[in-house]
Symmetry: C2
Subunit: 411 residues, 2 copies
């Protein structure tokens, strides 16, 4: 086994979130402070940037600089830059891996951290497998993030809690907005989630002693029937005139077609690009009832609303980053750092690593016991799972009323 | 002159905002504490509800109850309920006014406060005029609110600052989200504002030392040319690949047509209902450049995001409500309470009343000296006007991670 050195490199990949920089800050903090790790590099724009040797010197930027580290922790996006870059299979493109490992050798990398979602865990798996098969002693650890909460293994995914807190807060506020008139009306709010309805389910958290929240919640885990939606709306109207609906962008009809699909529009991983589930429902409901109907697509702010980050989520995201460094120093590789829940109330968790091969390219859906029998709401078991993840408020810093963010200097 | 009594009534009307309840709390607090005012009533659903005698007893609900008053102050929506109800002209429907004044007499109303936008100031004007012409001694005062900031007289409108803070914050956060890739892309964000571009202009506040904010800003005050937009985008690409555009929902072409108009869809006041200015631009820019283009419609959350209320705005909204009561007690009627700015920096204001007839049904647009020569950004004069309005953060209370709101008991 060859060890190239004791430097570390960390990259971010996939869609940005409000918490991925907290995980980055966790990795940087632990790595910079470790006496066993030499230099800490940051990949500009993930693996794609690393291949072009676009690297930040994170040691010089952050060693002893807790002010910027705190700013980075509360900055949305992916501060190092991201990429949508799926690594080839080693047996299909050996030259790619030869170039990659030549660079790892050049920069004397002994620790490789990759923060991202499903595709990034695939990268982590491939790099760690290739290293093991070619006798390279390097600790390759995945650090999860996704607002969709659809990664397997970990109890929940860093980034989800902050997105869920934003969604639940907006539903509580929209409720107050829709409740002002006496006429019958329907408001349909489209929430992110292509295959898993976790974020849409979190709209149920807006039902508290202090607000009524969402009336009807439709997840991609169950097929949608327009006739059923009309009946559900009529039932809600028996108690109040304003109906507030949460619908996942990925909701499908019984025949499997997305209600908001544009099947001609695929991303480079072949995923169907969705748009307009709420718009489609808006038109149908307006045609059916002739009442006032409005659709709201929560869109990108869901994944970058750091101004209302969940303290639980941001703290855990930082913690998972730190833990990844701790496990790398213990010699682990080919694993993803994650969270195990020990108790809902009081909320207790611990960090754990998961074999990356059992996680990559799998999707964790909302289980049926979290969805009510009517298929239009969340059960108490689901609420018990979701509740602790949005607790606590971060305290972002403001400059003249605008949140302050950390921006890396131009390379 | 007949005086019906010394009771007060307050109503809310028009579209809800994040600050209209702060003004309501200001009215309630001052009225309940005044020894000259008897009972304080709240109209459920504005003038329409008052005509059906749907009234809350605000004295019993709030006298000595500062906890609920504080909750109300940070609750979005229109807690009393709102209406879209334009009063007839007195010479066209005398019977309506006879019924209205019979009710004012029945409830011994000496003070009438109406919180709302342009249409509500029209109501205030009509009620006060009718009273004066018919020898009724009642103090009728308008309290302004609108996220659009388009009311005349007052330096700015309660509710605008909080909406502007939300818009500027979301632009700062979207900037971090769009900046993560190296490919050319365009993100178009549609901001509320049918005739006046104040809220869209506030996206310019997201350009600080800590974030780059919006690149291009298009207001309804100037005609839009698609060719000009393409040139503007190409110029931005010379410095960075991600272009962030703010566009008002009310932007028009040179021939006067809304770019996002659906002219078959009118509200009951005859205003054209807009939708999709950003969607139209998205399709055009995608066709022109073939790059990744995304549109985001900020939609209703702009007017109800109390979780990031501007402390300046909420404090002033409460203050304008209190001031309206103070002026009513001094005998004023037929006026709107508002704000006069004495200095930008340090920010200094005072409250003042404005003759309601000079305000109702007028629109205050963004003046040309606030728009840059290229017609795609805001000048330093404009920024100086906008900056103080979003300063300071409110401290909403949270219950298990969800903001707490005040909800009136059912009548």
């Amino acid at each position: 086994m060859i060890r190239y050195g004791n430097n570390a490199v960390v990259g971010q990949s996939g869609g940005p979130t409000a918490a991925i920089n907290a995980s980055l800050a966790g990795v940087i903090n632990a790595a910079v402070k470790s006496s066993e790790i030499g230099k800490v590099y940051g990949m500009a724009n993930g693996a794609a940037g690393f291949m072009n040797e676009r690297l930040y010197d994170l040691t010089s930027l952050f060693d002893g600089n807790d002010t910027d580290l705190a700013l980075l922790t509360n900055t949305p996006g992916a501060a190092l830059g991201s990429c949508r870059f799926k690594l080839p299979k080693p047996d299909e493109d050996a030259r790619f891996y030869e170039s990659l490992f030549a660079l790892l050798k050049k920069y004397e990398i002994g620790y490789f951290f990759y923060i991202g979602g499903n595709d990034s865990m695939d990268t982590t798996a491939k790099v760690s497998m290739y290293a093991m098969e070619h006798g390279v002693d390097i600790n390759v650890i995945g650090v999860p993030k996704t607002v969709d909460n659809d990664l397997c293994g970990t109890d929940h995914t860093p980034g989800f809690g902050s997105a869920a807190k934003y969604v639940a807060t907006v539903f509580a506020e929209l409720r107050r907005d829709t409740a002002v008139y006496t006429q019958k009306c329907v408001t349909i709010v489209e929430v992110m989630g292509r295959d898993a309805g976790w974020l849409t389910a979190s709209s149920a958290l807006s039902k508290t002693k202090y607000t009524e929240g969402a009336d009807l919640i439709y997840l991609p885990e169950l097929p949608l029937s327009y006739e059923k939606v009309y009946k559900d709306i009529e039932r809600v109207w028996e108690s109040h005139p304003d109906v507030l609906i949460a619908v996942s962008e990925g909701v499908r009809l019984a025949d499997g077609t997305y209600i908001g699909a544009d099947s001609t529009n695929l991303d480079k991983f072949g995923h169907v690009q969705l748009s307009g589930a709420a718009k489609v429902l808006e038109r149908r409901i307006k045609d059916k009832f002739g009442c006032k109907v409005r659709s709201v697509e929560l869109n990108t702010p869901q994944r970058c609303a750091s101004h209302i980050g969940s303290l639980t989520d941001i703290t855990e995201s930082f913690g998972v980053g730190s833990y990844a460094v701790e496990r790398a120093l213990c010699g682990e590789t080919g694993v993803m750092a994650g969270i195990v829940r020990k108790s809902d109330e009081p909320y207790e968790t611990e960090y754990k690593t998961f074999d990356i091969k059992s996680i990559a390219n799998m999707v964790k859906s909302v289980p049926s016991e979290y969805i009510n029998n009517d298929g239009n709401g969340i059960t108490e078991a689901g609420l018990a799972y979701l509740r602790p993840l949005i607790v606590g408020e971060t305290k972002p810093l403001y400059d003249n009323g605008i949140p302050m963010h950390y921006i890396f200097p131009k390379l």
